[in-house]
């Protein structure tokens, strides 16, 4: 297994009881690439990302992240991952600072205070660092979630429908951030059902439908119309 492949999935199947969420996913992603996974609701995008995030096991098939098996070597994979979903994973009864401090301690980050200041600056929340998170607006919470996701210098960022519930400011912040992270060698996988938001971010795109990757290829750049045609051709 060459380690310059950041993500390597082979024949991944996931069954939930009698439901089959993923039916044979093969996917390869180079280090430093940004992949956008598009697909309608119920296509299994969240399940795919959950498997990558070691939160759930595949029923069959193998998944390697940076050469580690996500089932057998989950504890080595987890520190590499930054995960952002539409739920923030934050504690409303703690301040932003305390939340980041907690996650920083969990990951054993050295010089934590400097790092927290740094990430809070990136997401523009330093002024509100000592406010309880429950008093934040939805957009602010999501921005803090971004800070939480990148806090421990992850090399693979998994974004599951990250635009849900975001205000304009946060969306543009998130896109800036993705651009910024691409310059750092950071691999990004983003799932979304929104075809219009920042297509030019991705190096590669994949379309997932009913548990299968029906299309994958290089990005079409900012050609929204071309992409829409492609999408409707595959998804229907």
């Amino acid at each position: 297994m060459s380690t310059d492949m950041m993500v390597h999935l082979e024949g991944v199947i996931k069954r939930f009881g009698t439901m089959t969420a993923l039916r044979g996913i093969d996917l390869k992603l180079q280090r430093g690439c940004c992949l956008g996974i598009f697909g309608p609701n119920g296509a299994g995008k969240t399940t795919l990302l959950k498997i990558l995030a070691t939160l759930t096991r595949p029923s069959a098939g193998t998944v390697h992240i940076a050469g580690y098996d996500v089932v057998k070597e989950a504890e080595k994979v987890r520190p590499l991952l930054g995960v952002l979903s539409h739920r923030t994973f934050l504690y409303g009864r703690l301040t932003a600072w305390e939340n980041l401090q907690f996650y920083g301690r969990m990951f054993g980050i050295k010089q934590l205070a400097e790092r927290i200041t740094e990430v809070l600056q990136i997401v523009d929340l330093l002024a509100h660092a000592h406010q309880l998170v429950r008093t934040y607006s939805r957009g602010m919470q999501q921005r803090l979630a971004i800070a939480r996701a990148i806090l421990h210098y992850p090399t693979l960022l998994l974004l599951d429908e990250p635009y849900t519930g975001l205000d304009k400011h946060a969306v543009s912040r998130l896109q800036e951030l993705v651009l910024h992270l691409r310059s750092v060698p950071c691999t990004i996988i983003m799932s979304t059902h929104d075809l219009h938001g920042g297509l030019d971010l991705y190096d590669e795109i994949a379309i997932q439908c009913r548990g299968k990757i029906v299309y994958s290829g290089p990005s079409l750049g900012s050609d929204v119309q071309g992409f829409e045609q492609l999408y409707s051709a595959y998804v229907g």
Partner: protein
């Protein structure tokens, strides 16, 4: 040879054996076994009461083993076995809890005596009813896993409950009872009858288990089919 094997394995053959052994058991209980001198005719409850109790423990043991296997192998068949055994175990448990008082009333003069085994049975009934409550909803692998954990925990709890209940009983005045348990000093004919009853009950248990597992499995398969059809219709 293969044909013979398939006959032996068939459900109807199993049912016939179960039926015949049950008839023999009933004959032995009512005709063959002598009437006990002290307790009189009610003592005959003993044969089926204790057989149900042992079958119940066996059922819960099966739940525990099947749960471990399910967590280990992640196969739906083991889960179906665990669920089925738990359900049948609760049925036998209920039988023990009903026949216990019916036996206790003429002998001890009270319906309920907090006798250690009966109390243990009651606690087990509560645990495994909780198990079935976990499983009420449609099949969900997460719940199946939780139920498997409860199946293991519940069985591990049995000796602990047994000890504590016995300890607790010694602190209370004992109810009037003539003969503790009833198995000690049984005449040979009674022993024979009891063993046949036990065998008949275990055969009944296996028969029910087999039927219940097949129901669980076909329900599972049907649900899968239904999902697939839904997807074909949608796509």
């Amino acid at each position: 040879m293969q044909k013979l094997w398939s006959i032996i394995r068939s459900s109807i053959f199993h049912a016939i054996i179960m039926y015949v052994s049950m008839i023999i058991a009933i004959y032995l209980v009512f005709i063959y076994a002598p009437t006990e001198k002290m307790q009189g005719i009610v003592q005959k409850i003993f044969y089926f009461h204790v057989s149900s109790a042992i079958t119940m423990f066996f059922a819960f043991f099966v739940v525990c083993v099947a749960s471990i296997m399910y967590l280990w192998k992640d196969s739906d068949w083991w889960d179906a076995v665990a669920l089925s055994a738990a359900e049948i175990g609760v049925v036998f448990c209920t039988l023990v809890l009903i026949t216990g008082p019916i036996w206790a009333r003429p002998i001890w003069g009270t319906w309920w005596s907090w006798d250690p085994t009966l109390t243990l049975t009651l606690v087990l009934w509560l645990i495994y009813v909780a198990y079935l409550m976990l499983r009420i909803e449609v099949y969900d692998p997460k719940r199946a896993r939780f139920a498997a954990i409860l199946g293991i925990v519940g069985f591990v709890d049995v000796p602990l409950i047994r000890w504590s209940v016995e300890k607790w009983r010694t602190l209370h005045p004992k109810p009037v009872l003539i003969q503790e348990g009833g198995t000690t000093g049984l005449p040979f004919a009674m022993w024979q009858t009891f063993v046949v009853c036990l065998v008949a009950f275990l055969l009944l248990f296996f028969y029910l288990l087999r039927e219940r597992v097949s129901v669980a499995q076909s329900r599972h398969a049907l649900e899968g089919l239904r999902h697939e059809i839904d997807e074909i219709l949608a796509g």
